[in-house]
């Protein structure tokens, strides 16, 4: 039942409002005359993305401009967000190709499993982040759009890093 009020005896220098004010003014003035600016003026200058940057997807193509995808179905299986829609098709020679290949970039969590699992190195994440659209439907990228992307693809790991692959 004791009332135990702890009264801290602090030195004047620590509790003085006047000194703290003057110190604060000096600090802000220091920054005012010698600013340590870190701002990147975004639309004018952009910073370099890491090779491991995981952005919106890109489908690589063969020399004749067709998607490398063979519709094996590994990527929709491995996708934790369930954002890849794949309907496989087959031509007269028995080669499989995607009839429908859609990625909902809103659902995507950019884990990179699809790129990692792809046996044909067809689907890749991209080093790209300017994805603004005017409506939600535009964020479902179809095959045509995925093959039309031109941005560099993600490395998923840094090849120069000693712990590499």
């Amino acid at each position: 039942m004791t009332i135990n009020v702890k009264v801290m005896e602090r030195p004047v220098g620590e509790v003085s409002y006047v000194r703290a004010t003057l110190k604060g003014l000096a600090l802000t003035l220091k920054h005012l005359v010698d600013p340590h600016r870190v701002t990147i003026q975004y639309p004018d200058e952009k910073w370099d993305l890491s090779p491991r940057w995981r952005g919106t997807h890109r489908m690589l193509t063969t020399e004749d401009g067709k998607a490398k995808c063979v519709a094996c179905g590994l990527c929709p299986t491995v996708c934790p967000a369930n954002c890849i829609k794949l309907v496989p098709g087959e031509d007269e020679e028995g080669n499989r190709y995607p009839l429908v290949f859609e990625i909902d970039e809103f659902r995507c969590i950019f884990c990179g499993y699809c790129q990692e699992v792809c046996p044909e190195e067809a689907i890749h994440l991209g080093r790209h982040y300017e994805n603004a659209e005017f409506n939600r439907a535009r964020f479902v990228y179809d095959l045509e759009r995925l093959t039309a992307q031109t941005h560099p693809v993600s490395e998923l790991w840094d090849p120069a890093h000693p712990r590499g692959e």
């Binding site: 004791t2 009264v7 003014l25 003035l29």
Partner: protein
């Protein structure tokens, strides 16, 4: 024969009226542009202090940002909440702004300007009661904020309005009291006379530093600037008194804040920093008026005012906001007693020096005042530094109470269980 020079004579009535209108136009234009660019300056300086760039998209270095802001504010939709008191809701923003503008009428901003039609004083109205006029006008400024808070029919706005009225009334007193010393030294309440007194005796900031300090602090409170911006404390009151305002009506409140800031700076400069006086020379305030003198002194006045506008901004981005009880105890328990004591000290000192037969413009008089001032500043700084005067939670009385409570606690702890406590 300089007396016959028409440039040095008093102008005729018509010339006086025409030039007064011209001066009003000039001041209004410069003032409004100044207010607009103060908003930009605030954003830029705050950005630099925080290691940012600030607005830099509109025009070179963002210089056209104020125009963009103006266009935006004029073209925005204005909402009129359902249950507001319409008349007061519309009048309040104007009421907040107009007093700041009117106060400029009596502030002298330069040495007299010679013209072929006579000598023109660079002040819109050289009232013999200039200082009292500014005190009266600036206290009207509180109505705009209080009425805005009340007419909004919003609890937060009302609280903001109440706070601002309490704050402004409290600091008005300290402000008025701190300037009494200036009036004592000048022996006059005309602002032109106060400027001339400082030109001959030295600036009041050196003679009456404590009064200058009190005035500065009170001016911060009067203009609702940080650290005294409790009326719009966003963490407690959303936006305080202007929560319900939108578009240009809202914009009038920041404009009036900046206008008040410039006016308060101009008042401080006039009362304590020699107004338009150029330091270390008597060239500017003796002999016949010339155009060069008028131009240079006006520039000096502008530079001094701008420095204090900068100071306002600088302090805003350094200090945190006071708590409400700290604000009140600072105003009533510290500033008012100090201001009153200072009046007594300065009055006695002036009486003693006058009785000793020293001339007011002489070095002995000035030196004595300055020495006294130095001692008083030292004492005040020592007291402010040691005592946490603005925090009622930690005062000398409180420490004694703590000691008493401790001894009671000690006694109780030594009682045997079951023993009746007395």
């Amino acid at each position: 024969m300089p007396a016959l020079d028409p440039m040095q004579l008093e102008p005729s009535t018509w010339v006086f009226i025409i030039f007064t209108v011209l001066k009003m136009l000039a001041i209004f234009t410069i003032y409004m542009v100044g207010v607009a660019y103060t908003t930009l300056a605030e954003r830029k300086i705050s950005a630099w202090i925080q290691d940012r760039h600030g607005p830099n998209r509109v025009g070179p270095w963002g210089l056209l940002q104020v125009i963009a802001d103006g266009v935006k504010n004029f073209t925005k939709e204005e909402t009129m909440p359902g249950d507001v008191n319409k008349a007061l809701f519309i009048v309040a923003p104007a009421l907040a702004f107009i007093p700041a503008l009117i106060a400029w009428a009596v502030i002298p901003f330069g040495a007299p300007l010679p013209t072929p039609w006579g000598r023109i004083d660079l002040v819109v109205a050289d009232l013999p009661i200039g200082f009292l006029f500014t005190l009266a006008i600036t206290s009207i400024g509180v109505y705009g904020i209080v009425l805005a808070g009340w007419a909004s029919n919003n609890k937060y706005a009302l609280l903001g309005g109440l706070r601002s009225s309490a704050q402004m009334v409290s600091y008005e007193i300290a402000m008025g009291m701190s300037t009494v010393c200036v009036l004592l030294v000048a022996g006059n309440v005309s602002l032109s006379e106060i400027v001339m007194q400082q030109a001959t005796m030295g600036w009041n900031a050196l003679l009456l530093s404590i009064a200058a300090f009190l005035f500065l602090v009170a001016a911060f409170a009067e203009t609702n600037r940080v650290p005294f911006d409790l009326p719009e404390a966003e963490s407690e009151l959303i936006a305080g008194y202007h929560s319900e305002y939108s578009a240009m009506k809202f914009s009038m409140f920041p404009i009036s804040e900046y206008a008040n800031m410039i006016t308060a700076s101009a008042m401080f400069v006039t009362l304590f920093l020699g107004g338009w006086d150029i330091p270390f020379t008597l060239w500017d305030n003796s002999g016949p008026a010339t155009v060069a003198k008028a131009a240079l002194t006006s520039l000096f006045f502008a530079a001094k005012v701008l420095f204090f506008v900068f100071f306002y901004i600088w302090v805003r981005w350094t200090l945190p906001r006071f708590r409400y009880d700290q604000l009140m105890s600072l105003g009533w328990k510290l500033m008012l007693p100090v201001a009153l004591a200072y009046i007594v000290i300065v009055a006695s000192a002036l009486l003693a020096l006058d009785a000793a037969g020293l001339a007011r413009t002489g070095w002995a008089f000035k030196g004595a005042l300055m020495a006294l001032n130095l001692v008083l500043v030292g004492v005040l700084f020592f007291i402010l530094d040691r005592g946490r005067l603005i925090s009622p939670a930690y005062s000398r009385l409180e420490r004694e109470r703590v000691a008493r409570l401790r001894s009671v606690a000690q006694r109780r702890a030594t009682l045997a269980p079951g023993e009746i406590r007395s």
